[in-house]
């Protein structure tokens, strides 16, 4: 071949390769799933509106996945599970099949509320000093290590709900999840920030080649995120069944990943995992009735405690987020946290005095101790006559269908990106829920074989005069129940619309070993209020204006008189709704 011939051949090759690269880039961009547009000012209260059905979730694509199922004739349970699968693909750092959770279901025809507890369990070889390393608690073992991984319950719980209360097959409800994982979507600011925050952990466990990093770096807003391995895993589960996750090939991969990272989970732990259906915990606030989950989910119990206490105060007179309101609420939280530390654990193994803790009498005792212009400074746990047996076989996204069935579902892999451990070629993250056990070996919530760790989740459904009024839930660790209580009070006492109530500034306080900690509050709370709180003796930490530290609540409010459904979704994360 002549020199000119070789030159032309090389030029042709370069043009061809460049064209192929460009084509693949453009076709990839064309294929990625477009995220529905949301109001430009994300923090401006915005209620999604529906008449027949509504789905709210922490990602717009997940909300759309649920709505699609509703429109295809699925019920609220079908939509909830479709949304849960889609969330695993679209918001993989917060929940997924490697985690667990709780759901509250209202069955309209039967007028019945039921709970499904699919919280993770400790492996059978767990023991109270599990995280003690050379006489000290090893925090890294609790965060990003095989020992941090509890036996996942999400898939078993979703499958149980679908089998018992749904109308669709697993295959139908996971299709959108597969689609999102396969085609990908543009990463949001929230995703990018969380990805950067958890970079160290992801480097340590997931590694630079995992899909949760972009060529070894965190994703930037607008980057395309795809997870083809998760799509393959979903397809595999769809064709072989959920048992593959607990007893088959996926189970082997999970156990192997946990053991390779120093954990103690065995194949039997996975094979024996089962979700539990329970009757709900019930509380009241004025003429409203609330149903939520039971321990080890503590959110419901503490929301009822807080509402019982608040019922005694003239909070409308004090004003929304006034110094008096924040002071009294914070003092109440200190008492509630004292009870939490002392009593909460897995009710399958220990006795928790749920009835006295949630009684109006006990709330009145706490109210009598709280002073208007003074921090008490010491907050003992409640003492009851004899430990009561709580044998009522105890235990977020929201969906509502045209029949009036409602699901309020909270789930998690604990910390963002969980343990960071990904079973080989599966694309899903394993939880680090063992971290929810206490580090105190004498605590009722110390790690022990097969126990479920205490959770702060509190998915709930509220009724007004026996008609469904509000479904609500939130992430946010121990801020969950204080935030949900504030939202409920914003709606009932301060007359806010659902999303106004969600977007409204939040605060948080807690006690540890009987001592009050600092009040954290969003910077939108005025300086004059902060000055008044400091004058009472509170130490204040000012956080961002809309800080995801306080959670990311989603809710559905049913305006019976107007025959309209409102969906509220938190702008502190990527909350979104879809109604029809």
């Amino acid at each position: 071949m002549t020199k000119k011939g070789i030159f032309l051949q090389r030029k042709f090759a370069v043009v061809l390769i460049s064209s192929l690269l460009l084509t693949s880039v453009f076709s990839c961009q064309r294929r990625q799933i477009k995220i529905p547009e949301l109001p430009s000012d994300r923090h401006q209260p915005y209620n999604f509106i529906g008449q027949k059905g509504m789905v709210v979730a922490a990602h717009p694509l997940a909300a759309e996945a649920g709505l699609e199922i509703l429109k295809k004739g699925g019920n609220a349970v079908d939509a909830a599970i479709a949304t849960a699968f889609a969330l695993n693909a679209a918001e993989p750092f917060a929940s997924g099949i490697g985690g667990g959770g709780f759901m509250v279901i209202f069955l309209a025809e039967e007028k019945k509320v039921t709970i499904i507890n699919f919280r993770e369990k400790a492996p059978s070889q767990a023991f109270p000093e599990l995280f003690v390393d050379k006489g000290k608690i090893n925090e890294q073992w609790r965060r990003s290590h095989g020992l941090a991984v509890a036996v996942p319950g999400a898939l078993a719980g979703w499958a149980y709900a679908l089998r018992k209360y749904g109308t669709k097959e697993l295959y139908d409800v996971m299709q959108r999840g597969i689609d999102i994982a396969e085609k990908g979507f543009a990463v949001s600011k929230t995703f990018s920030k969380i990805n950067k925050d958890e970079y160290e952990k992801l480097l340590l466990t997931a590694g630079t080649t995992s899909c949760y990093l972009n060529e070894g770096f965190p994703y930037e807003p607008g980057d395309l995120f795809r997870n083809p391995e998760l799509a393959r895993t979903f397809r595999f589960i769809s064709s072989k069944g959920v048992q593959e996750f607990y007893k088959g090939e996926l189970a082997r991969k999970i156990v192997s990943a946990v053991k390779d990272n120093g954990g103690i989970m065995t194949p039997e732990d996975l094979a024996l995992y089962e979700p539990v259906e329970q009757c709900p915990l019930k509380g009241t606030y004025k003429d409203y009735t609330l149903y939520s989950i039971r321990p080890p989910g503590s959110g419901g119990l503490h929301i009822i405690q807080l509402l019982n206490i608040i019922e005694n105060w003239p909070i409308r007179k004090w004003g929304h987020n006034s110094p008096s309101y924040i002071h009294h609420f914070s003092e109440a939280l200190c008492f509630v946290f004292a009870d939490r530390d002392h009593y909460l654990g897995d009710p399958d193994f220990i006795s928790i005095p749920v009835i006295p803790l949630t009684s109006k009498q006990y709330a009145a005792q706490i109210v009598s101790k709280i002073k208007s212009n003074l921090m008490l400074g010491y907050y003992p746990f409640g003492k009851f006559n004899g430990k009561q047996n709580d044998k009522e076989n105890t235990t977020h996204l929201c969906t509502m269908d045209k029949e009036g069935n409602i699901v309020s579902l909270s789930q998690s892999i604990n910390d963002f990106f969980g343990s960071g451990i990904i079973p080989e070629n599966t694309g899903f993250l394993l939880n680090n829920h063992m971290r929810d056990f206490s580090t105190d070996p004498n605590s009722p919530n110390a790690p022990r074989p097969n126990r479920r760790p205490v959770s702060s989740m509190g998915p709930l459904i509220m009724f007004k005069k026996e008609k469904p009024f509000l479904a609500l839930g939130s992430p946010g660790g121990t801020r969950i129940f204080p935030s949900l209580t504030q939202i409920i009070i914003n709606i009932i006492e301060f007359g806010m619309s659902l999303d106004e109530a969600i977007e409204s500034p939040r605060f948080f306080n807690y006690s540890s070993r009987g001592k009050a900690q600092n009040i954290s509050l969003e910077s939108r709370i005025p300086q004059t209020t902060i000055n008044s709180l400091e004058a009472i003796g509170h130490e204040v930490i000012i956080r961002e204006a809309f800080d995801k530290y306080f959670g990311g609540a989603q809710g559905i409010m049913i305006l019976q008189a107007k025959k309209i459904i409102h969906g509220g979704a938190d702008s502190r994360r990527d909350g979104s709704g879809a109604g029809y």
Binding site: K193, K196, D197, G216, F217, P218, E220, S523, I541, Y549
Partner: protein, 190 residues
Amino acid sequence: MKKILIAALLVFSLLIIEAFTQGKKEGVLSIFEQPILITSAGQNAEVHLASVLAKRAELTSTLSQNATVKDLENIKTIVVVIGTSLKGLGAAGLDIAQEKERINLLVEEAHKKNIPLLLLHLGGEARRGKLSDEFINTFLPHAKMVIVVKSGNKDGLFNKICDKHDIHLIEVERTVNALEPFKQAFISKE
């Protein structure tokens, strides 16, 4: 034909360079030397990004989130990744005042020892706000050069401080684009 190809290649290269580093002032200042001490001001998570950037740039570096003056022994450049994370501060058991004091001491000692300060802001828009800005306003004036991910400088805060104190400002689109100027900064005296 050949000339056109070369011209096109030149334009293309310039575009690529422009995309990687959008130097606002005088481009990369290649005065920094190794070994490097990397620390954060505000206990942010991006400090780990800086460590990975240093590794990819094949620079000799030590990462110490809670570096003190003792860690400056034998160090020739201090890289401070700026931005406040309350989560990070909580995990380190520090409050804002303690963290500020730690950085203050480091910067003072570095100044005494003629160790130049290279500042990085890699968290973008999400790592701005009252608490982060406090650190930026306090410590950026001590830097010789700053590399900032563009979305973190939407309001021009970095330009304002850099103009006032004659600091080299390099703006990059994405974290990964910080690699090239970071590498370049150490090129002259490897």
